[in-house]
Structure formats: C-alpha cells, structure tokens
C-alpha cells in the first residue's frame, strides 16, 4: 500500500512581508495574508494528494506575535484536515516556546503535539508510522535533543521530528545542535527538520530534510518556498518531492546596464528584464529586488537621482507586471564608465573632490565624525526599528556610512557636471 505524508515547518503565520514600501499601483492586496494563503495551499496539498499525515517541525507563529486570531485561523485549517481524515503531529520550535498563542489555543483532535520535557513517540499503526520527537520548552535550547530520541520501532516507518540548526546555518540561531552522523545513528527512515528557512536535503540515506519555510517574508528568503511530499510503501520511502506553496516570492533580479547609453536606454533594459520575470512568475506575485550592475555611461545621472529612476522603474513594473510584480528595492552596483573613471585620475577641482571622497571612505573615524556633525538630528529621531537589522539605517556604523559614499559621489558629480546649454565642444554656437 502506498501512503503519502507531508512535511512542513516554519509557517510563521501572519508574519508580515518586510521591505515593501508602497507605491502607486503596487499590488497591495496580493501581499496581504500571504502566509495564511500559503497555509491554505499546504492544507489543499494534503487533501489533493490524499496524504494521511502532516508533520510540522515547529515555529507555527512568530514568538512575539500575540494576535489570537492567527491561532484560530490555524485551528480552522486543522479542522479542514480533520474533515479530510488527515492526522497532524507537531513539535514546538523556538518561536512557539515563547508564543502566547501556543499556550492557549485548543486544536481539534486530529492534531497531536509531542512533549517538550522528554522525547516521545506517536504511533499511527494503521499508517505503519512511528513519529518520534520533542519540542522546545524554552526559546533557547542548546542541548542536543536528538540524543534523547527513542530507538526505532521495528516494522514501521520511523520519522524523527526535530527543530534544529544541525551543525549551524548562517542567519539562524544554533539551537538544538546535532550532527548528521548523530541523526543517522538513530536508524530512522526520515528526519523531518525545521528551523532553517532555506530548503535543504542533508542526506538521502536516511532522508534528512529541511523543507524551508512556507512563504518567504523578506529579501533574504528568496526563491521557491513550500513543503515536502513523502511517498512510502512496505519497501520504504519511494519519493521525496518539494512542492512550492508560496503565494508571493522574493527574487533578486540582476540587470546589466553596461550597454545602456542613457536614462531611457537603462529603463528599457530594466523593462525587458521585468517583463521576463513577470512572465516566469507562474501567476505568483514577485517581490523583486533589482540589482543593477555594469559600467555604464548614465551611471552618474542615474545614481544622482535614484528616486526619479526608481519611480520610473516602478511605473514600468506596474505596466508590464500588473499584480504580479512589486519592486521591493533597487540596489545599485553600477560603476562609472571608463571616461567617468578618468575623473579620479586627473588633476583639478573634480579630481581633488573624488580623491577626498576616497580618503574619507578609508578613514572610519573621520567618517563617523562627519556623520555625527551632519546626522545627529536624524539619529535622535529615528526609532530603533529603523536603525536595526540588515536594511537598517546604521548612522553610527562606519561601514554602513562608507557604502553610502558611492551614492554621495554620484549625487555630487551629477549636480556639478549636469549638461547645460552653451557648453562649447558639443552644443556649439
């Protein structure tokens, strides 16, 4: 008999999509409730595939998220599964450990939570499955939980349910550490892991899988997001397939502007790339981070007025993508063209200005001193949430300030050199 089960983790229900500043025509409605719709997709997957069991490896909600309606929504989806005769087993992750919702919410009787104090086993004998697991009792669990997991049950498909960073993953707290060999030593057939948001198959004998989160929530969670569909029969696991379930997808779109000769040219290049991205989005909404690169003639003019260019790019996105595209951010990695680069090599006022900027870039204390003089008023007004995080405006961080100098240089050169009628040598009399 062939049976299917679905493995998902890190739902982070109702966690907002970050970094999406609104602009006219942006597909606002498509962004709302994205994590809920992703969960609906997960439930629909279980029902459509006739899966008998859903295993959830922790982090159903953000830890600090208190809104109880989120829990009620989760419960309503679990009820849908009960009506379709799908069993659910889950463990608490680090976020769930501190979640008020988890503490108060009552779930329908098809949902079984495994204990946090000790590892335990949930048997589904009609399905031929034993699920072993242990949840997080507190937010920061630093012991190796996997060690305490019970021995495999003979004659059943053994699944280990664990919220862990294994040996550590960038951007994730090193909770419940363990090793791949340690997991293998348990003799289970499938390790259903959670906590790491990028999908990863650590091993296929036995299967050790991070399914990734259900829905990307910011620019670092790019690409397909979803769950893992596992098919097994008497001979063991027959297939392990990733199923995309996200409704909004974060993507980085590199655009080479080295061929662009002017503003319109650059916009046209962007238009072509956005059109292609919208076409490939398969009906999902893309939150696109445009990374512009290449040595180009209009570099100074574009970077000197980035907002003007951004407004045009967004208008193009609305035009070509409609509800399928949201321009999340434009990241400038363009370089000046060869001739513009000459400005730094020569002599005279401009060369001295660019040299001064180069020197400032290297001098952290001078840079911090300048920022303290010029930006202290702003620093006092900016709340911590604006200043912190990867995209934070870190006014006291020299590295952050140094990266802003490229924009400063482009802005200055644009203002000082913008073409004016009466210039001899090109306009003429």
């Amino acid at each position: 008999m062939t049976v299917k089960l679905v493995h998902a983790a890190d739902l982070h229900l109702d966690s907002p999509l970050r970094g999406l500043a609104r602009y006219p025509g942006a597909p606002l409605d498509r962004m709302r409730g994205a994590t809920r719709r992703a969960l609906e997709n997960l439930v629909a997957l279980c029902i459509d595939e006739d899966a008998k069991l859903l295993v959830l490896a922790g982090d159903l909600y953000d830890g600090e998220w208190k809104d109880y309606s989120t829990g009620l929504f989760f419960a309503s989806q679990m009820t849908r599964l009960r009506e379709a005769d799908v069993q659910v087993v889950w463990i608490r992750g680090n976020h769930d450990a501190q979640s008020q919702i988890t503490r108060h919410l009552r779930l329908p009787d098809n949902v079984r939570e495994l204990a946090c104090e000790h590892a335990e086993t949930q048997l589904y004998e009609d399905l031929g499955i034993a699920v072993h697991g242990r949840g997080f009792a507190t937010r920061a669990v630093t012991e190796n939980l996997a060690q305490s997991y019970p021995e495999r049950r003979a004659g059943l498909l053994n699944i280990g349910l664990l919220h862990t960073s294994v040996t550590g993953r960038p951007g994730h707290e090193p909770y419940a550490p363990c090793t791949l060999d340690g997991l293998r030593s348990k003799g289970y057939d499938y390790w259903a892991l959670g906590h790491v948001h990028a999908r990863e198959e650590l091993s296929d004998d036995p299967w050790v899988v991070f399914p990734g989160n259900l829905q990307g929530r910011h620019a670092k969670e790019t690409g397909e997001k979803g769950a893992t569909l596992v098919t097994y029969d008497e001979r063991g696991i027959r297939s392990v397939v990733h199923k995309p379930l996200d409704v909004v997808r974060y993507a980085q779109l590199p655009v080479d502007l080295s061929g662009a000769r002017d503003f319109d040219d650059a916009l046209e290049v962007v238009r072509v790339q956005l059109t292609r991205a919208a076409r490939d989005a398969e009906g999902r909404t893309l939150a696109v981070r445009l990374v512009l690169f290449g040595a180009s003639s209009p570099h100074t003019a574009l970077r000197g007025s980035p907002q003007h260019f951004a407004e045009n790019v967004r208008a193009v996105a609305v035009d070509v993508g409609g509800d399928d595209l949201w321009v999340e951010k434009i990241v400038w990695q363009t370089e000046p063209s060869l001739e513009q680069a000459l400005l730094r090599q020569g002599e005279g006022a401009l060369a001295e200005l660019t040299s001064a900027l180069d020197a400032l870039r290297e001098d952290e204390s001078a840079l911090q001193e300048l920022a303290a003089e010029e930006l202290s008023d702003l620093a006092k007004k900016l709340p911590a949430e604006v200043r912190e995080g990867d995209d934070g405006v870190q006014l006291d961080d020299a590295k952050y300030l140094a990266t802003q100098l490229a924009e400063v240089e482009a802005l200055l050169l644009d203002r000082l050199l913008s073409r004016r009628s009466g210039d001899t040598g090109s306009e003429g009399a």
Partner: protein
Amino acid sequence: MKLVRLDLRAFGPFTDTVLDFATERPAVHVIYGANEAGKSSALRAIHDLFYGIPETTADGHVHQLKELRIAALVRDARDRELHVVRRKGRKDTLLDVAGVALPGAEASWLTAGVAEPHFRSFFGLSYASLEHDAKQLLSGAGDLGESLFGVGIGGRGIHDVLTGLASEADAIFRPRGQVQKLNEALALLENARRAEREASVDAKAFQLQVTHIAEAEARERALREHGSTLRAERVRLERVDRILPLLAKRAERLRARATLGDVRLLPQDAAARRASAEATRLEEAARLEQLEQAIARLEADRSGLNIPEQLVAVPPAIIERLRDGIGVHTRARAQLSTARERLARAREALKASARGLPSELLARAESRLDDELTRGIREHALLRSALLRDVEKGARETLAKRAELAVLEAQQAQLSASYERRGGPAALPLLARLSIPARESVEVFLERVATHERELAANEQALRALALEQERITRELDVFARVAALPSEDALTALRAARRAAWGQLRALQSDAKRWQAAFSGAGTGPALLAEIEALTERADELADRLRRELERVAAHERLLAERASCERSLSQLQKTRGELELRQRQTDEAWRALWADSGVEPRTPREMRGFVDEHVSRRGRVERLQTELSVLDAELGRQRSALAAWQDTWAQLLSRVGLGADASASDADVRLLALQEHQQQQLTAYGAERALAELERELNEFEAEATTLAKTHLTVAERTSPEASASLLVARHQRARDNLVRRAAIEQELAQRNGERDAARARGDAAEKQLQELQFAAGVTDLDALRLAEEASAQARKLDTELEALREDLLRAAGGADLAELEREASAASADRVSARLAEIDTELAAQDEQISAAANARGGARAGLDIMRERGAADAAGDHAAQLAVVRGWSERYVHLKLAAAVLRREITRYRDRHKGPIMSAASALFARLTLGAFHAVEADYDGGDEPVLVCVRGDGVGDAATRVKLEGLSSGTRDQLYLALRLASLHELARAQELMPLILDDALVHFDDERARAALSVLGDTADVTQVLFFTHHARLVELAREALPAERLVVHELRSARARARTVA
C-alpha cells in the same frame, strides 16, 4: 594635447576638409566661418574626435552615419604624435591610419586623462557659458572658495548646488518639522506601530469574549424558557374562554331533539322528489296528445306529392348545360353575320400590304421578320460611321508618329557628326544596339578610380610624415654621434672575451711549471700577460660602470635606433603599398579599356564617359519608346480595318434576309423593315378573324344536337317545336321534379322525429308514477297528503342532528386534542371573568419578557461580533502596513543621509581647494584681470569684510595699496564681471597646467560682448595662453578676426576660414 591637423573627411557638411594647425611657435588659431559655413559642425567635430560621435548626432545629414570619419594628427607635450581616425559606432571607434582599432590606452592618451564632462565644462567657453558662469559668481556673494572651486570645474553654480542640496534635505527632514517627507513618514510609522498593537488581540481577551458570549446565551435561554411556560398557560385560558358559549348552545339543542320523539327519517330530497314526480306526470300526458295530431298531418302531405322518376334520373350537369346553351345559342346566331364580314375585310387588307414586296420574299418562310433581325440591321447601320471614324483617326496618328521618328533619326545623324568632329566615337548607329557599358559599370570604375586617388594621396601623406620622422631620428642620432661614443653591450662583451682569452693563457701556463717559470723569468711574456689582464679588467669595469651610469642615454640611443629601424620598415611597407596601388591603378585602367572594347569607342575618363553613356542611353530609350508606340499604332489600325471589313460581310448577310442587295443604304433597309412589319401585322389580323368565325359555328351545332336528343325521350311530339323551346320545357320540368323530391325527404324526416318524441313522453309519465308509489312506501303511508306530513317531521329531526354534530366538532377543534369530557370538566371549574383577568396579566408579563430577551440577544450578538472582529486578520494587515511604512522611512532616511553628506563633503572640499590654490590663482588672475580691463583694475583680492569667510573683491587702478578703491562683485558691470571670470578661468588653467597635460582651450565666440578695446586685450591674453595650451578660437564675426590681427603679431596668429559647406578650409594668414 595639441591638434596638429584636423581632417574632416566625412562629417557634417564637410568632405575631406583639412584644418592645418601646425605652426613653429605656439599661436592662436582663429577659425572663422560665416553663418552656414559649418562652424558649429567643426566645433562638434573636435569634441567628437576626442570623445566619440554621439549615438544621435546632428552631423549625419550629408554622409551616412556609418561613414562619418574625423581624422587628426595630435601631439602631446612630450612631442609624441599619433594619427587617429574616429568613426561612428558603439565599439572600437578610434582607429589608426590603417583603419585598425587603437587600444584603450591610446584613447586615454588622446584625451590626456581628461574626462568628457570635464573637457566640456573646463576647456570649452562660449559667450553664453561665459556670461552664465560669470553671473554664478554673484549667487555665492563672491565667496572665494565657491568662486575658485566653481571656476575650477568650469563655472558651475557651486552656490546653487549647495543651496539645492540643502533645500532638498530640508524638504525631507527637519528636527522639529511635521510636513517634511521623512517627518511625515515617521509619524505614519508611529501610527502604524500603534495600529498594529491595537489590532492585536491576545488569547486572554479572546477567552474573555468567549465567556461573555456564553453568559449572554445562558441568560437569554432562561428568559425564553419562562416565556414558553407563560405562553402555554395563555393558550389554555384562551381555549376555556372560547368553549364556554359552545357548551351552552349544545345543551339547548339536545333538549329540542328529545321533544321530537321517534321519527322515521326520509331522504333529505324526499319532498322535492315527490313534487317533481307529480308535475311530470301531468306535463307528459298533455304533450302526448299534441304529438299524435302532428303525425297525422305529415302523412297526408306526403301522399299528395307528384315526381316523374325518369326525368329526375337525368344528370343535373346535362340539364345545367342545356339551360346555359339557350342564352348562348341566341347570342351566337346574332353574331354570325358580323364575323363573316370582319373576315372578308381582313383578307382585303392583307392583299394590299403585299403589294410592293418581292413575291419570292413573300413565298420564303425565313423572310419572316424577327426581333433579332430587326435589331441586327438597325445596330449595324449605326456601327458603320463609328468604324469609319476610328480607321481615319488611327491612320492620322500613325503618320504623326512616323514623322517624329524621322526627326529623331535626323538629330542622331547631326549628333554623330558632332561627336566625330569632337574626336569622340566616330559613328553612333543609334538603332543598331550599340554595345556600350552599363551606367552602373561606369559608376563602379568612377568609385574605383576615386578610391585609388584617395589611397595614393593617403600613402603620399604617410610617406611624407615618415620622411619627417626619419629626418628627426637622423638628427637626434647625429647628436649622439657628435658627442662621445656611447658604451655598448657589444663592446663590453668583446672586452670580456679578450680578458677571458688572456686569463685562459695564464691558466694554461699555470698548469705547466716549466712554462710558468719561463714566462715569469727574464723577458718572459708573463708580466705582460698579467698587465694585459689587469688593463682589460679595468676597461671592462669602466665600460660596465658607464653602461650603468649612461643607461638613459644608451636607452635613448637604442630607442632611436629601434625607431629608425621601425621607420625604415614602415617606409619600405609604404613604398611596397605604393607599388601595389599603382599596379592596381594600371589594372583598373586596362579593365576600363576592356569594358569599352566591344563598343568600338575609345573611352576617355570614367567621369567624361558617364555623360556620354547617359546621353546615349537616354536617346536610345526615346527611339525605342517611339518604335514601340508605332508598332502599337500599326497593330491598332490593322485591327480597325479588319473590323470594318467584318461589318460589311455581316451587313450583306442581314440585307439578303430582307430581300435587299449588299449595296442598299441604311434608309432602304429601314423602309423595307417597315413594309415587312405592316404585312406581318395584316397576316395576323386575317388569321384572327378566321378563328373567331369557326368557333361561333361550332358552338351552334353542339347545342342543337343535345336539345333534340333529350326532347325525343322526355317530350311529346307536340311539345317538340324547336331546339330552343324543347330545351326551355325540359329545363322547367326537371326543376319542378327536383323540388318535389326534396320536399318529400323533409316530411319523412319530421315524421320520424315526431314518432320518437311520442314514445319518450309516454316513458317519462310512467316513471313519475312509479316514483310517487316508492315514496309513499318509504314513509309508510298510502296517499299523497300523509306523505307530505311525514316529510315535515323528518326535516326537523335532521336539522337538529346536524347542528349538534357541528357543535361537537367546534368543541373538539377548540380543545386542541383534549376530549369532550375533559373540556366539560375544565369549563365547569372556570368563570369567564376570572379567565379574562388572568389573560391580561399574562400579556403584560410576556411584553416585559420580550424586552428582556431582546436585550440579552443584543448582548450576545455584540459579543459574537466582537469575536468575529478578533478572528479577522486585522492585526496581520496592520503588521504588513507597519513593515511597509518602515521601508518608506528607511528610503527617505537614506536619501537624507546622501544629501547631507554630499553637502558637507562639498563644503569641506571647497575650503580645502581654496586654501591650496588661492595663492597662485589669485596672483595670476590679478595680472590677467589688469590686462583684460586695460588697467581699470589692477588686482583681485580676498577680503574678510563683514564675515568669517573670505570674499572676492576687485581693486581699482585708481590708487596704490589701501588707497585704491575696492569693488565687490555686485558693484561690477556685467562686462567687467565677464572679464573677471575669464581672468579666473585662465588663471585656473595656468594652475592646472602645472600638474597635468591640458586639452586644447576651445572658445566659441566668447568675446562677442566685449568692446573692441577689451576684445583686443583678451585676444592678446589668449596669445600668451597659447604657450600653456593650444587655443582654438571659433567665430563668425569678421570684426573679431580683424581685432585678432591687430592684437597679435603675425607669427602668433593663424586664421582659418571655413568658406562654405563643401569648400576646403583655406589658411589665409
């Protein structure tokens, strides 16, 4: 960087236009061109030479874009020269003379490391930019730093840039602002954060809400239960209230029924049935008597009818025909003589119309006219004149065309003679297809010859350049030769070889003790050998030392030798190329002659022969066209003549069919057609009259035969007087017999009906009698009066029974399921007054209860709605809004950071630049300003009057030191301000020249607003600037050329004139 020569090969209006800027001493180059002479194009050409031709250029209107070429010979400060060619394109647009792309390093060298925007702003100066930039000095109130920095980048309005950055930053954020974009965004962020917090509902609040709902529901439930009890009691009391009157009525009816005693119940309709039977019995007896009388009358009528059966058997159609025939027969007999007369008249008219027509035509059956023949003859009569007209016109046009061809041939004869006289091709047989080359072939040769000439010229030019280069190298090598000989690697190698040889000899001696002793005793060679080794070692060391010391000279010498070798290689390559070019030129010449070989014409140059070919081709084209037209006309004329002949054939055939010869005219034919039509008409009339007479006679005969036959059978001999009389009698008698027949049938039908009615009346009377007897039996009586009394008693008893049954049903219905005994018990305990009072109490209680239930339901609904709101994802949306607003705040914050840092960095750099350069620039500018203002001012100074930052002031030439008047910038006239700006620009140029190679200074009519005196002074200053960098002064004012000639010595000025769009520039002084 200097332009030695600018060759506008294909650019704007120019083709192969050369501007030669080579001079022995630095000089000002004035490029003069009237309007439309291409001055602006020449200006753009210089820019595009250095920095590339833009994608959209205004200079591709004469030459195709891909063919645009600007060539130049350029020289740097170290006299390194390079021939370059700029083409239009996206990549590899800088080429060497051979058309090979130059590497990027050469492009950088060409622009001396000066970026394009910097070149445009700093090395270019037009009257518009001079005036604009001079005004910008004012916007910063003469701030020294801003002024110097602004001039240093080519006069941007630094103050405006600073102000712009500051105001843009201010529009984004102010510490206490509210309407600025970032301030607004921060306020919205706070709102979004608060909204998220408020929208979030925690578990406890939710549970509390659930409890509220449960409580409200319980309260509502209790109230509803109490209400139900009250309503049940109310129902019971209302029932009692309803049944009390019904019970009273029932008791009264029961009593009445008991007084009637034992009654035999008859059917309900017994009285009606008895009355009906009595009436029927009487009615049917009367009806029977009437029917007997009617039947006797009908039988008497039937026996009185007479019907002759044989006549009645004659079919009605025959009698009908006979009746119709009587009228027709009378009318036909009257018409017979008239028809005979009409026939005689028609035969006479036919005979008359045949007169004048040929008898054989009348005899021929086909001579009958039909529409086709008539139309054919009439159409052909019309066609003839049109055909004749066409033939005449065609003949006339053919003659005219032949005359034109004759004229052309005569002209050709004259032309041949003319060519012969001019020594051209002797004869041009125009109409024979003279085989001369196609125009395209001639064009190909034209292009090829031009290419040869251009390549030879380029080769010549390159050869000349190489010769000059060779001379230079030889000159420099001569210098090396004249000073002491240079140490060389070869000489050092030779010395070391000699030393090794001597050392070898010494080692050989050492290995042989005897020879050693011999060599070092007495006059042996040993000491000399040692001395030689020492001398060689010293010389080698000395040479090595010199090699090291004079490394640069040696290297220079080596480079010169290498350059000479390279030069010779290039020379040989160019000479080889020249040989190849000349060979190709000869081959082209031979091919040219071969092209003409078949024509028998001795060709001159392709350019001359192109005219000849054009004229020949044009003339031949005209003749061919005329011949074609003539043949078309001939063919048309032939066709028209054939059409005329065909017409004549058809005409003859048509006329023969109406008995006319081919020579008959159209009017003859028309007369004949009319006569024939008349004859045919008469024939038709005679035929019609004959047919009418025959029809009349047939009708008369048929009628008489039929009437006679019938009369023989049905009439007596005496009655048969004539066919008409017999017919009339037969018809009348037949009609009578038929009428009687119909009447008999009607009587028989009525008799049958009356007999049926009599039988039915008899049966109904019997039935009524039987019914009366049955009713008497049922009531137990024997006569009708007793029966009527029994009927009344039965009806009263039946009515009371019915009422009692209805009352019983009403009571049961009012009881709602209870039985009658229970109802009577319930009613016996109640009184109507008590029941009404309790009902009023219950109504009041229920009304109060409804209000309480409504309040409880509202409370429950409100609590449930609150729960629904909590269930919705308001908090998630608020968190999304919060995240979005955070992104907005970050965006504006970064923009603010960029603007603030940009302004600060620029301010610092302005101060730094001022402090670093003000000394030399102010000193140079003072001297230049004094010259430009003809001594009206003698210096430019920094002044701290009124503030911490130094500002520019101009010192008048009216005194010395502090005694002189100081004028701030706003006190200067606009002209003087322009001159101050020019002084500062030139001083900055001098300052920059100390640090790097400069690009040419290009002025575009920059002095048009200077008066003559100051313009002369400015041109003199530019003369000195030419020592610093090349000065190219473009103008289309002849007056400025004159002023330049007055201001500058002849050897310091070169005037180039752009004469017209296509003329080559001419150096005139």
